[in-house]
Symmetry: C2
Subunit: 244 residues, 2 copies
DNA sequence: CTAATAGTGTCTATTAGACAATATATG
DNA sequence: CATATATTGTCTAATAGACACTATTAG
């Protein structure tokens, strides 16, 4: 038997097991900023550190199902939440216990009630993404990846509406873009742009009950439209440093 | 111990093992069309069916490393190949042997030599993506996902240059776009557009040795530039059916 | 009233794309 | 020479973004 025959006959069941987890980057907008759901680990390893919610997949359970379950365990919510696969991480030493491959998911939700700590967590809360504690494992990298994905998807998908409530004003939608992108956008141009993208929002015919907190007319209320892609897209102001 | 405590204490090592594989969607342009590398399975399950190259990850091996190894085993090449993570698949019954989670990778290469079959494959060859045989497991879904990713990435990254050789003409680059997107593009407008995107291509100062096969002047030769994102992007002609 | 906000109008620069023109190869 | 291709020029429509303006509401 030469080397290639040996390798072809490699049987993973003969080796120390690999475990598979899902980890969820759940984002929401709260207190004027973008926040991520973190749990404080109750168990070793990294007990006491903050981490993304997640856990081992169970027999018979598909990956998206596992991600939704992990999220629901902390937030109690599963509807009104957009969830999609982000990426997978499998560096051999990323978990000290054993070889663990993590499939990460990205979730977007409107402002949710306070999370409850699952029984494997000492605490759970929404953390501003620009003021993060030290994270367990490689979760800082996963989170950074999730943030970049979210920022990009705002450009060409109607994802922003997943951060808003059932009905929203154009200003609220602009607030989502400004918060996630960390920029300020011109109100007038943004307004016209949104209404010019077919299927992004549709009018409810209603308006807000009152004007803004500091004055201004009542705003028209919209709901999410049926577009799955925005055309033309809403592009972020170009950042030269991102291009090269 | 209530249910949540039980679930928190769930230990994956107490259950039947999960295995992790990598599968590679390797694309190239050959014979005027887009092709994908497939191997004919020599072993059960699905012996005799075509499948994406892939296999179990090995102890101590990171995921991208495993993908590069699997690709190299079939093609003999590892440099000049762009490789990136695509997505993960973990439906419980996707492999009849046991619970297998697959991390898929997407690879792009210029026209490569004929593949050699690895020892776990009866055959290996480049198949036109528009005339595919039946595929093993859920590999048709993985491949479809890879194709859509590749088409999208041509828009906003310099990926097309990964399909071309070291030096290429603007016409060759246009051929890549036309082949991957399956459309025909206006030569003049494409030419000017490419040169207007900063960092996409840079001139070598050379030209082709002779004109085209059926006449025409010698074309200038370019190499890939240093841009990582194309700005402005080269958008595919909008397709209304994709938007809704 | 004053200040802030919603929504609309207008103008300019950029870009995509249709179409034409010119020069240079092949056969 | 006839024809194909590379490259450049010109024009039009769509779009992004700067800026201005009006109407409406909170305080």
């Amino acid at each position: 038997m030469d080397e290639s025959e040996f390798l072809a006959g490699y049987d993973p069941r003969a080796y120390p097991a690999v475990a598979v987890t899902v980890d969820v980057v759940a984002l929401t907008i709260r207190g004027g900023g973008l926040r991520v759901l973190l749990i404080r680990r109750a168990e070793q390893p990294h007990a006491g550190l903050w981490a993304l919610p997640g856990g081992f997949i169970r027999p018979g359970e598909d990956l998206p199902q596992a991600a939704a379950r992990e999220l629901a365990e902390e937030t109690g919510l599963s509807d009104r939440v957009h969830i999609e696969q982000l990426a997978s991480y499998g560096a051999p030493e990323r978990d000290p216990r054993m070889r663990i491959v993590s499939i990460s998911y990205l979730a977007f939700a409107p402002d949710l009630p306070d999370p409850r700590a699952g029984s494997d967590a000492a605490d759970a809360s929404w953390h501003p993404v620009d003021k993060l504690p030290e994270l367990a494992f490689d979760h800082d990298r996963i989170l950074a990846h999730g943030l970049e994905r979210a920022r990009g998807k705002l450009e060409y998908t109607p994802l922003a509406t997943a951060f808003a409530g059932e009905r929203f004003t154009i200003s609220e939608l602009r607030g989502v873009y400004e918060t996630v992108w960390g920029v300020s956008l011109h109100a007038g141009n943004f307004h016209r742009k949104i209404l010019s993208v077919p299927g992004f929002v549709e009018s409810t015919g209603e308006t807000t009950e009152s004007g803004g907190a500091r004055g201004g007319p009542r705003a028209k209320l919209y709901r999410a439209g049926d577009a799955r892609l925005l055309h033309p897209a809403l592009l972020r102001p170009a950042r030269e440093e991102q291009i090269r």
